[in-house]
Each structure stands twice: as structure tokens, then as C-alpha cells.
Assembly symmetry: C2
Homo-oligomer: 223 residues x 2
């Protein structure tokens, strides 16, 4: 156990990373990311847990301007559709928000899941069919935190159709696109989430989200 143990300073660094990670949309700088840093981010993703050790992910690095422009056009189309789904005041607020950095970020990264990578029967997926996709999301979060530790911002862009994403990046039918990330150096990391500062939604009190033994049973009342 002793050889394995994290020091207080290491633990503090991990918590600082978790707490100061942000979903970045507006603070990207154009500086290229060194290849060695990109390789470390990808290795962090590849170190994620995966059900049945499936490692179902692929990583598509996007740096060309025309690919970014096509993704941005797909976003703009979807974003206009999305704004129209909200009520009037909410729609007005929605339209003021910057929700992606596809053109500004020097690097985009699409993370996908190959669900058939080891055949139809996967250890650990037999009774919960979605867990291979969840493994892929764990890889995304690893990359997001590694990027923060590299002083790089990441923004996850989900406002575009998966059909458009497939068409632009040539993703075959049997591969599920899971995340499209904008990655780059930033002018600064905001202290709080953009949507919290914009008044879109408030931070929920954690203690109201925690239960003991059964869903709905208060945490702090437990013996």
C-alpha cells in the first residue's frame, strides 16, 4: 500500500484539476498544441476503464480548416433549430450564449465507440447494454482532465446531428460517435461554468442529491 499511496500534494493536484476543469467555448488561443502533448492526452484517454477490457474507442484528430468549417456549419444549423425549441425569453438568452469553439480551437477531437469490437458477447455488457458507450465517456473525461493539467481548455460540442458528424468525418455506420471536443490553449479558465454565470441554471446543492441506502432517503439522517 505504501508504494502505491498518493501524497497530500498529489491528492490536492488531482482535486484542483477536477474542480478547475471547465467547458471552454470562448477563451481559445490559436497556438498549436505540441505533438507530444497530444500524445499524452490520447494516452490518458486510452488509460480509461473499459467494460471487458474492450477499449472500444477511436480518436479522430481534426486540424484542417475545411473540416472545422464543415463541423461549424453543422453546428450553426442545429443551433438555430435548438434556439427555436425554447420559450421566448429563454430563446433570447439562448441566442446570446457562445456554445462552441470549433473555428477557434487549434485541435478538434472526435471520440467514437466501436460496439462490435470483440463480437456480440462482451464481459460485463451482458446485462447492461450501454456500458461500452459509458467506457468511451470515461476516456473523454480522462482526456478532459489531462488537458486541464496541461493548461489546455476543452469544450464538448453536442449541438450538431450525429448524421452530420458521421458524414463530415467519414464515420461508418457500425461506429458510434460519442463526443466532439474543441481543445486548445486558453486566455484563462473561468472560475465557474459559463451557463451558471449566464443565469441559465444554478448549481444544485450537493447534499440534496445524495441518498443513503435507497433512492430518496436523506443522506445526513443516516446513523
Amino acid at each position: 500500500m505504501d508504494d502505491d499511496a498518493f501524497t497530500d500534494a498529489e491528492r490536492a493536484a488531482v482535486y484542483r484539476c477536477i474542480e478547475s476543469r471547465r467547458d471552454v467555448r470562448r477563451e481559445f488561443l490559436p497556438d498549436a498544441i505540441p505533438e507530444a502533448v497530444v500524445a499524452r492526452l490520447l494516452a490518458a484517454g486510452h488509460a480509461a476503464p473499459s467494460v471487458g477490457f474492450l477499449q472500444p474507442w477511436n480518436f479522430i484528430l481534426v486540424r484542417q480548416a475545411e473540416t472545422k468549417a464543415a463541423l461549424h456549419a453543422a453546428f450553426a444549423h442545429a443551433n438555430a433549430e435548438a434556439a427555436a425549441l425554447f420559450e421566448s425569453a429563454r430563446a433570447d438568452l439562448y441566442r446570446t450564449l457562445k456554445l462552441e469553439g470549433l473555428l477557434e480551437a487549434p485541435l478538434l477531437l472526435c471520440v467514437t465507440c466501436e460496439r462490435g469490437r470483440a463480437g456480440p458477447v462482451v464481459l460485463g455488457r451482458t446485462h447492461q447494454s450501454e456500458v461500452d458507450v459509458y467506457s468511451t465517456v470515461c476516456a473523454v473525461q480522462n482526456i478532459w482532465l489531462a488537458a486541464r493539467a496541461e493548461n489546455l481548455g476543452v469544450g464538448w460540442v453536442s449541438i450538431l446531428s450525429l448524421d452530420d458528424l458521421r458524414a463530415i468525418l467519414g464515420i461508418p455506420e457500425h461506429i458510434l460517435p460519442v463526443a466532439l471536443l474543441c481543445i486548445g490553449r486558453v486566455s484563462h479558465f473561468a472560475g465557474t461554468p459559463d451557463l451558471e454565470r449566464a443565469g441559465w441554471r444554478a448549481r444544485l446543492p450537493l447534499e440534496e442529491l445524495v441518498f443513503a441506502e435507497r433512492f430518496g432517503a436523506p443522506w445526513r439522517d443516516e446513523p
Copy 2:
């Protein structure tokens, strides 16, 4: 930027955490986890990114022996079904694997997703319907990494039916169970994943999983 910057030592701690995190099933020790540590793990989960700042998660802490026993019985039932799905030699190997620590770990944690928490229309979920579930998985991975930094092991148990999980933990229909985690101090952290050491599956070469600009286009050939 300077105030935000991670030092080399902080960055190394984050990478060490990502690399040395394990899916733990057999090394749990019975020591209780201090409440302050549990609170830090939950805060790490609550610091995860969420689409539309939805924060769709709840956390159910399970410590009672009868609840653990019920979960273990549901696992045992599902695990016997699962073993029968593999071919003969594979099934024999499957039956030798220890795939959960539900009775040994001092703390179990179920992480759930309330998909309707902010009504039907959620910023960022309009064109990709699953991203609120993905947010919940990001919370799981935050907890997993925070636990590693606290020198606690975590194992994700997915070999039980969601219906059984719902029934045992009283999870209502409109709430999606995402993860059941075993958490506790461990005798040691293994150097490699259990399933790799057992010969179940090999580590895939990362460079074969990375593409440039389009799915399938080799990474290292890019200009």
C-alpha cells in the same frame, strides 16, 4: 493564464492518477471510509461537466449488509447467465474471474441520471439525446479518479440487471441507474488491469486507434 497554470508536479500527479487507477474487485479491505473522504468523492462527482448544466445525477450510498447481500445475489444470478453465453474454454476462464467486490467493499455507491430534471428541452441535448447520460458517466470517472488520489479502490459492477438494481435500491421508473461502484481501501493497486493479466483481452496499441481528419486515415502519416 499564469495564475491558472498547473505546475509540472501537479501535472505529473494527475497523470499518475489516470495511469494507476484500476477497476478493483479482489483487493478490498474492510476499513470504514471517513465521512469527510466520502464527501470529497461526492463533490468530485458533482464537479463533473454536464450538458446544459443539468447536473442530472444522484448518488446513493450503500453501507448496510442486507442491501449489499441483495445486490450480490442479483450479481450472482446474472453472472451465471453471463458465463453460459461464452464458448466452452472462454466460459471456463470467465468462471475463474472475480468480477465484483460487493460484499467486501465497505461502501457501495450507485450513480443515477434524472433525464427529466429540467423538462424535455435541454440545452445541448436537442440533437444528441444521450448526452445527459454521458454527463453522469463523467461524474463517475471523476469519483473514480478522486478515489485513486485518496488511495481508495473502485470497481464498477455492471453484471446485474437494471431491474434488480432498481428494485433493491428503490429507484423510480423515471430515474436511470448508470453505475454501481464498490469503494474501499485496498491491499494494493495492481500494475495492470485484471482482465489483461488473466489473458481475457490484450491492451490494444494506441497508435492503431488514432486517425487524422477522417475515420480510418492514419494518424502518423499526417503532414
